[in-house]
């Protein structure tokens, strides 16, 4: 019998509707945790807005904004233990932050700092990945290490919709399934890969089903619903820890801003589309829910945005205060021991030739 893609139906998982009302049972997060998640989201948004301005002022380099994707990133990262491993792309400052890398590290990276890709000791994450889907294979190797070491840790990678077109993604899914690894493939389908809409990227009805051919369960979740994202990621984490193998999550979300500060989205998408997604804003949705629970109001909202501005001010000051590294220093990190040739070049560099 032929199997046809049309026979498959995928229903999107949602916990909060756009009005911020529960459509099914909420995950077991206490008020303190809900407020913490909300704080992460608001401060992340403030960071993003500030970073866009810093770029225009020439204080940082090319910047890839994540506004619109806060729920997808923070909801998923919040489901991990700090001992789990995270493999981000270049748009995941909020996820890295939730996972323990202070925001100033993300800023340093965009400043083109010599040590901008060196995250602090103890943060179980790889730095920014520039090569699309390269991290998809690393997450699998890391998950493999966990089964070998029997350490019960989970490895999660972030991928874009565009990244699912790369061979690395598919090869990794296959490995993870064959070896039954505790890996999570978290796809943020933000509708665009630079100028290409999802219809140019895949003939599949969803990205959620991409794992099926490899024997990997998948789910499509409303990526602007932080509770739903948290819930499905918790489920994937549980499966991984129990030795049940990899999972794939498609979070349906939207990139509010340009691809990067070098991009002009008006060349390929309509303002109407951008506006329509604003109605689904992840921060607004959680705020409505918190207000409904009567643990949030305008006063607290204002205070939080003020706090956010202060936090970001400190982040910027910290990043800009890090001594400007030198090229000569980076010569120490090509090999464990610099080769004679590097030492010679280092000497001429120091002498100014």
């Amino acid at each position: 019998m032929w199997i046809n893609p049309e026979d498959l139906t995928v229903t999107q998982w949602q916990v909060l509707n756009e009005a911020g009302e529960l459509v099914r049972e909420a995950p077991s997060l206490g008020h303190r945790q809900l407020l913490e998640v909300y704080r992460y989201m608001v401060i992340a948004r403030a960071y993003d807005e500030r970073a866009m301005r810093l770029q225009r002022q020439g204080r940082i380099g090319t910047y890839a904004p994540f506004s619109g994707q806060e729920a997808a990133q923070i909801g998923s990262a919040y489901a991990l233990e700090r001992s789990d491993w995270m493999f981000p792309s270049y748009r995941e400052a909020p996820a890295l932050w939730v996972h323990g890398a202070p925001l100033e590290y993300s800023l340093l990276y965009t400043m083109g700092h010599v040590f901008g890709a060196r995250l602090p000791e103890g943060v179980h994450a790889f730095p920014v990945q520039i090569i699309i889907a390269g991290q998809a294979t690393h997450v699998m190797g890391s998950a493999w290490a966990s089964t070998y070491l029997e350490d019960k840790r989970v490895s999660l990678c972030y991928l874009g919709d565009g990244a699912t077109s790369q061979g690395d993604f598919h090869e990794s899914l296959n490995f993870a399934s064959v070896l039954k690894l505790p890996a999570i493939y978290f796809i943020q389908n933000n509708q665009w890969a630079i100028s290409l809409p999802r219809s140019h990227q895949t003939g599949s009805a969803t990205f959620a089903q991409k794992g099926l051919a490899y024997g990997i369960p998948g789910v499509q979740v409303d990526g602007n619903d932080v509770l739903a994202v948290y819930q499905v990621t918790m489920e994937a984490v549980r499966r991984a820890r129990e030795g049940k193998g990899p999972s794939l999550i498609e979070a349906v979300t939207y990139r509010n801003g340009p691809h990067t500060t070098s991009d002009d989205p008006n060349r390929y998408r309509s303002q109407a589309e951008v506006e329509s997604w604003k109605q689904k804003d992840p921060i607004v949705r959680l705020r409505r829910y918190l207000t409904g629970l009567q643990i949030w109001d305008d006063e607290r909202e204002q205070a939080l945005w003020q706090e956010a501005a202060q936090v970001i001010e400190q982040v910027v000051a910290k990043a800009e205060g890090v001594p400007k590294g030198t090229l000569a220093e980076s010569f120490d990190y090509v090999y464990a021991t610099p080769t004679p040739r590097l030492q010679e070049q280092w000497a001429t560099l120091e002498r100014g030739r």
């Binding site: 090319t62 083109g112 890709a117 990244a163 077109s165 140019h200």
Partner: protein, 327 residues
């Protein structure tokens, strides 16, 4: 004659050849609707439609592999790899597949395809966007490697590359995309592959350069002439595979002193190949050791320090000084 920058010159070459040759098509990420991340293919999809200017899914290996299949079937694909740092994704298709097809099939199948890619530093890009990787392909028999440094050459060389019967890697220095304009004919013309250009004539020293480094080296040589007197011959190779051996030998026989300036890392770079060539073909003309000013032997660094890494005027002056005072 109109003035064009390099982006306009490349765009003009693509447009003219698309008009002339219905078997040509352009494929790659964001090349269609958006006109490429640097606008190099701007307006081409509007003019030629989305069958001939194709926005592909995000997969470089498949893009180059597709070009192999298309070219084998008599079409002329011009594929874009968005930045040269991403060419590693295609190494099997470039080196094991495209480069060897004519050789393996003893001429039965050949591949008239071009892979275009921007490269080079000095424009504050994130990691892996600035690397000069021509050396990988000069070490890959079966592929030609073209590296223009001016709008005029860019257009003429691209038209030659597209019409060439073999795979050509065509590298576009990002920093020069809009750096300057020069007179470029509106219509078609070709610049022959494998022919260097003598940018400046001189008797005391031969400076051999190409691609992104060429304007830096040329300007340094000019300033040296103005300030120190003496005359430096500057050769822009324009194509690094095949290399214009005759132009190199002719010049070195005259000057006896050789400085090579390129942006790629030093070890195993194309500069080493040029130096070997000089010692094989005209060693007895040499009056001094052959020197190189290049990138250092590290990965391309973070942009905060890239200017210290790139070959610059000071390093070129020092090397010229050393060569000219060598006795």
């Amino acid at each position: 004659m109109p003035l064009m920058n390099m982006v306009e010159a490349i765009n003009s070459a693509l447009r003219l050849e698309m008009e002339r040759d219905p078997s040509m098509l352009i494929i790659g990420e964001d090349v269609g609707r958006a006109g490429g991340v640097f606008r190099v293919t701007d307006g081409l999809q509007a003019q030629f439609g989305n069958r001939r200017v194709v926005d592909t899914p995000l997969a470089e290996s498949a893009i180059v592999g597709a070009a192999v299949g298309l070219a084998a079937r008599g079409l002329r694909p011009v594929a874009e790899v968005q930045f040269l740092g991403f060419i590693y994704e295609t190494m099997d298709q470039m080196a094991s597949q495209a480069a060897r097809m004519r050789f393996r099939t003893a001429g039965r199948i050949h591949l008239p395809m071009v892979v275009r890619s921007p490269y080079g530093g000095g424009v504050r890009t994130p990691e892996l966007h600035s690397d000069s990787l021509e050396g990988l392909f000069v070490h890959t028999p079966g592929i030609k490697v073209v590296m223009p440094s001016s709008p005029y050459d860019a257009k003429g060389l691209l038209l030659s590359a597209i019409r060439d019967p073999d795979p050509v890697l065509y590298l576009e220095p990002m920093r020069l995309y809009r750096a300057f304009k020069e007179e470029v004919p509106d219509g078609e013309y070709t610049v022959e592959l494998g022919k260097a250009k003598v940018v400046a004539e001189g008797d005391d020293l031969t400076l051999i350069t190409w691609g992104a480094a060429a304007p830096v080296a040329t300007a340094a040589a000019a300033e040296w002439r103005d300030k120190q007197g003496g005359s430096v011959e500057v050769i822009d190779l324009r194509t690094v595979a095949p290399m214009d051996e005759e132009a190199i030998v002719r010049s070195v026989a005259k000057t006896g002193r050789v400085l090579i300036v390129h942006e790629a890392v030093k070890s195993g770079g194309v500069g080493a190949e040029v130096a070997a060539l000089v010692s094989e073909k005209c060693m007895l003309s040499l009056l001094a050791p052959i020197l190189r000013v290049t990138g250092y032997d590290t990965p391309y660094p973070a942009f905060a320090v890239e200017e210290d890494w790139l070959p610059n005027k000071q390093r070129i002056f020092k090397a010229m000084q050393e060569l000219l005072s060598y006795r």
